[in-house]
Subunit: 390 residues, 2 copies
């Protein structure tokens, strides 16, 4: 049950949730673990509820071990699946609802019973499906570029789309800050950008895909999704924490659109001794709700993410998880185009690299993008050649 071992994210009989607890000593850690299993279920102190409920409804402390960090303990708590029923919001509530308001409780693993996992959509396309959508062979990494900046008109954004698609980028996505602003409202933006990509594909024989951002008002969501799909888009960008994770689950289940998930707001959860571990939130939760690719800020970019965090997210997105498909890690947040080959060697080819600023900083975006595409393809070809020779 250690966060690093092979069992993480595996399938369990009961709901198993692991936490790192900060406590003065073992006795306090045990008391804290017990408080959690009551707080997250009956919300009443021990002794005030019928014994039958204590047995059935209150969670169990399955394990409590010292954590490698001084003053911390790893607790594994388990719950009857009936504590959740079939509602995803209630699963998230059980995992971290009320205890978010405490201190020194960090969620570091979620393992669900097979039946519960099976009711979650997981990636509708997954790594294989997204490769197929983009005509990308197994041996190469994929490339994604964000359309920006906000403030451009729909036509200006479409011009960028055309340039990036012609250059051979696999996925051009809206910047997650593109909503329905007056400068480039959703409907004309999607129409123009999708037209541009289709035109580029027709000219090059390529399979570039344009994913518009649909993190909009929930009452307009179906309309925007239909508009995107009818225009010919095969995927969308969403920010699950802005939109609500269950709304993403609903998109994944009913729309046959690939989902690229953005981590907006997620950083609030990433505290050293509290919150939800990045690999669990972005790697496990985002994958469960149906993300085919999950964007995260890569090490060395504009955000302070450490290498082991990025690797943890990669692992959870790709590792076996019941019958759910694996999803693409999408490192971004200021990846230098010149360093993509390096990151391919670090993370492997089942990675979708999100490159932005370092292309936009160049005088000719199309040319810079084409150079990136060629470099990545050549690098991946060489890697295949080397591995064939081994």
């Amino acid at each position: 049950m250690n966060g690093e071992d092979a069992e993480e994210g595996a399938v369990a009989e009961r709901i198993r949730l692991a936490y790192v607890l900060t406590a003065a000593n073992r006795q306090d850690a045990i008391a804290k673990a017990l408080d959690i299993v009551y707080e997250q279920t009956v919300e009443l102190p021990r002794g005030t509820i019928p014994a039958s409920l204590e047995e059935r409804v209150v969670g169990r402390v399955d394990a409590l071990d010292p954590f490698p960090v001084e003053g911390q303990w790893k607790a594994v708590l388990s719950y009857d699946p009936a504590d959740v029923g079939e509602d995803l919001p209630q699963l998230l509530n059980l995992a971290y609802g009320n205890i978010s308001l405490q201190v020194g409780i960090r969620l570091v693993d979620i393992q669900l019973p097979a039946a519960m996992l099976g009711r979650l959509p997981g990636p509708g396309f997954g790594i294989e499906g997204l490769r197929r959508l983009c005509g990308a062979e197994d041996h190469r990494a994929l490339l994604c570029v964000a359309l920006k900046p906000v403030g451009l008109t729909a036509l200006e954004l479409a011009d960028l789309c055309l340039a990036l698609a012609v250059a051979g980028i696999d996925i051009v996505k809206d910047d997650h800050g593109l909503a329905n602003q007056p400068m480039a409202p959703f409907a004309p933006r999607v129409a123009r950008c999708q037209e541009a990509v289709a035109k580029a594909n027709a000219a090059t024989g390529g399979h570039c895909r344009y994913f518009p951002n649909v993190t909009g008002p929930v009452d307009l969501l179906a309309e925007r999704l239909a508009l995107a799909r009818d225009a010919g888009c095969r995927g969308v960008l969403v920010s699950p924490l802005l939109l609500g994770p269950d709304t993403v689950r609903w998109i994944a289940e009913g729309w046959d659109l690939a989902i690229l998930a953005h981590p907006a707001l997620a950083g609030a959860y990433f505290q050293a001794q509290h919150g939800i571990a990045p690999d669990v939130l972005l790697g496990t939760v985002f994958r469960m709700i149906g993300s085919d690719g999950v964007i995260y800020p890569n090490e060395g970019g504009r955000f302070p993410f450490a290498r082991r965090i990025c690797e943890g997210i990669n692992r959870r997105l790709r590792a076996p998880l019941g019958t759910l498909r694996p999803a693409f890690p999408v490192p971004g947040g200021g990846i230098d185009a010149a360093r993509v080959p390096y990151w391919i060697d670090q993370y492997g080819v089942d990675t979708l690299f999100l490159v932005g600023s370092s292309l936009y900083g160049r005088p000719d975006v199309e040319r810079a993008a084409r150079h990136l595409v060629e470099t990545v393809r050549r690098h991946c070809d060489e890697r295949r050649l080397e591995s064939d020779q081994v």
Copy 2:
């Protein structure tokens, strides 16, 4: 623009967002503030975008002052309303999306232009409307009890409802962990509990209201809301961060149901030097999206909330905010029934007190609840008498 002064939450020409920044010195604080206004809009470094966009789209650093805490600065940043358009998720994105992934950035105030505020629903009932719904005169505080524990059947919960309604409690709400579990599925639970409350009201002439928890799957939400409304419920419980804030906005706009908001997951945002200040998230954001009452963990209960945080939330829920109605602060999280009069003196009568564990710990819940109701009414009558004499 100080977090404590009269301007907080007021109406502005531009979107004005205030942050407390942790930085080594003033120069670093300025650099951090500038990084934010780029990161949250164009997501590109200075110098890589056209000057016209810099002027119009990138935010402005309106003020940067030393904060009373060493190593912290208060920055006021402002944005063109066109950066958001009309999407609430995009407003939250602008306020804290990407920068959540940084460190040492704490959102401490949100001020919106009148037009933008006017498009948000705010409380549909507010303090006045909720009082009317519960037949509660202006001079007294209201009482709410959570139905629990999860694990009871619909009939057992309905029995509790009956007892609490007969005792004179104003609002009986589902525990926020009651979803659609097999022990008490949503439909029979709402039917039985609402019947019980109606029966009690018929017998006593009272106006107790039952608010079921509708934090369920988004695709079943309309069905559950309709079921609750058709059964005769006049309000519901939601957890905005489990469900998605914009989904709560949608409920507030279209269902004519009072909304009690639960802070599940919110604690993840409450860091000392990062995240969103509790008064801003629970007091301003939750009110803007339509909460008529906002639950928070009171000082001295099971959660480590300080008095000044509670008072900050109270203030933001009740203060003038464009044309939005004021909402009830709902302190809970382990309030001792015996201490409610003390808290009335602290927080005033425009407060809805959420009492739970301390009633359920007693052998006769109805009797304990009746005693609480009588104590509170007597205390509020005495307060009125005293203030009349002044």
